[in-house]
Symmetry: C3
Subunit: 271 residues, 3 copies
Amino acid sequence: MMLSKFSGKNIQISPTAIIGQNVRIGDNAIIYDNVEIGDNTVICNDCVIGEPLNDYYGNEEQYSNPITKIGADSLIRSHTIIYAGSQIGHHFQTGHRVTIRENMSIGSHCSIGTLGDLQGCSELGNYCRLHSNVHIGQHSKLGNFVFVYPYVVFTNDPTPPSDICIGPTVGDFSQIATGSVLLPGVKIGEHCLVGAGSVVTKNVADFQLVAGNPGRFIKDVREIVDRVTGENHYPWPYHFDRNMPWENVGFEKWLKNSDSQIVMDGLLRGG
Amino acid sequence: MMLSKFSGKNIQISPTAIIGQNVRIGDNAIIYDNVEIGDNTVICNDCVIGEPLNDYYGNEEQYSNPITKIGADSLIRSHTIIYAGSQIGHHFQTGHRVTIRENMSIGSHCSIGTLGDLQGCSELGNYCRLHSNVHIGQHSKLGNFVFVYPYVVFTNDPTPPSDICIGPTVGDFSQIATGSVLLPGVKIGEHCLVGAGSVVTKNVADFQLVAGNPGRFIKDVREIVDRVTGENHYPWPYHFDRNMPWENVGFEKWLKNSDSQIVMDGLLRGG
Amino acid sequence: MMLSKFSGKNIQISPTAIIGQNVRIGDNAIIYDNVEIGDNTVICNDCVIGEPLNDYYGNEEQYSNPITKIGADSLIRSHTIIYAGSQIGHHFQTGHRVTIRENMSIGSHCSIGTLGDLQGCSELGNYCRLHSNVHIGQHSKLGNFVFVYPYVVFTNDPTPPSDICIGPTVGDFSQIATGSVLLPGVKIGEHCLVGAGSVVTKNVADFQLVAGNPGRFIKDVREIVDRVTGENHYPWPYHFDRNMPWENVGFEKWLKNSDSQIVMDGLLRGG
């Protein structure tokens, strides 16, 4: 390339930020106080990392920015804003213009698509993938290997407006398809599939496919067949391995590995 | 903070802009011609205030930018674009990356969440709250204390594409929950609740809960109980007061105050 | 205007970019390697044209940016990101903060609204209009004069997650109304209308109106009447001509013109 994304123009880095080895930072990026960035991570142009919380505007001089951690080997695409006070594991990726509010706990190998809007105070396990334009309300909890497709919203106020805030919970391996809304406090089990455009008003048991508005039980996901092969597709880890830790190993074999338990227990974070 | 959001870098302010006392303007912000900003307002980094209208591109030299007013004590978060030609009251707040087109009339104490997209030529009363990613088509009209939740869309063309443009109308205190679509010209009364994921095709009378696709009358909102207390929650102003003018006073008592009539008549704008 | 959008500040243009006559480029814009921009086109402030693909991050020095073409007389509004490797016709317009990934083929006279998110590897014919916040998954195909309204999503994975990727197809003149989701591989004919909030799970024949979740056949679009005139509105080209090539000519007469066949064959691109 004749023109680099990393020409070093207009970058601001707080003297209290801790930047790992071989980190690249794009033009116009800002790294605020008390941000810690792991080795080999790329922060693209126009990103804001450690965005000060609302208290900042009231008293800039006395304000102290909470610690923000982003793990190693991550790629934060341009115009992403990550507020101060979140802990994010390694191999993290964002699309463009992602907004992540404070007090998020995000495992390793997670990705958040373009325009994603995480409202803070929520937990994501390891290997979660949020596609474009997903909105996660406060106090949501996602397990490991939870994939969320475009324009899904996790809500949290059962009688709006109120001071009650109870987010949805989604178990390991579950898939929430495009444009669905999860109502406040719903619990979705493991290996579930929520069909596109569903409004989930009730809890969903393990292995259920639900769809519709309101969402209704359709069938066991283990009865769904692949359009191309005609074979059962779920549980999907047996049939999909791109960028998964069982890639080229097989899910069954990986489950027996010593490190799979660390991933499934959500303990990958520090790695 | 060791690093300030207001270091004065790359700010451009038109000589015809009128900036109030104690206004702070973030790095890379642009304030175009004929913008008026009230006292104590904060314009964060990378905001564009008074964005020129489409005519500008045809003839930059002869183009005259309409007046844009943003009231006192407002907080415009980063990367927000507000077109020229809108009037916005005091105590206005935006999230990040909000886009507000021309000829909007917005009351006082309103807020527009991250990624909000207001298409212009619409009216919001006082104390309206639009959460993240709400889309307001042209010629919509929202009363006072109308709260709109994420990914709601107000539409305006009954037979697309056509030259007819009739936006929805929403009465005082009504709540439009996540992911709902209001069809062109629907009139929603006062104290209504539109359930998440609804497609509202018909008018909704005062105090009605509607839900579903198409939206159907479910019950009177006064029959809905709070999940925690088990008591009736609506009309909500009797049970929710955070940042409302009746905070610590009580709704009933506030209604009898001399200034409540000014708020309810939508006359707070100049204050 | 006292303050110009084109003051020439912080612009970066690769020496391998080819910029047409009378092109204006806004402040802070970046034009990467091998971008070709047609005459009279306006690139507004903070746009990124020819954004390098993911391979760039692995080996910046050996990376070669694919060719990106944007036709003449286009207007790219601020903060739009267009990846390298797309071909876009003349008279193209975007709203703000649009994201267009690689390997898109977009005809002439198309527009993409604010926050639009085109995931790449898809085709749009001529005169397509995508309103705000439309998401087009990979391997989608839109004909000519297809209008897509806010918050519509084109999906492509029938059994998520899988390696199957089959996008929807939409025929000439069809209209996809607000908040609809098109499921993977659905084929929508010509002159169709998909009602707001629909989840389209099955193919739709020419001239059908479908609506609901799941989408169901409602009636022939030729039975739909205009709310104002009370007359049939569809096929809409007989009743709507704003910015259409038959403006002030009439659809019937235009169809008989020699150049209408070029438009309908999707061959306008080079013009």
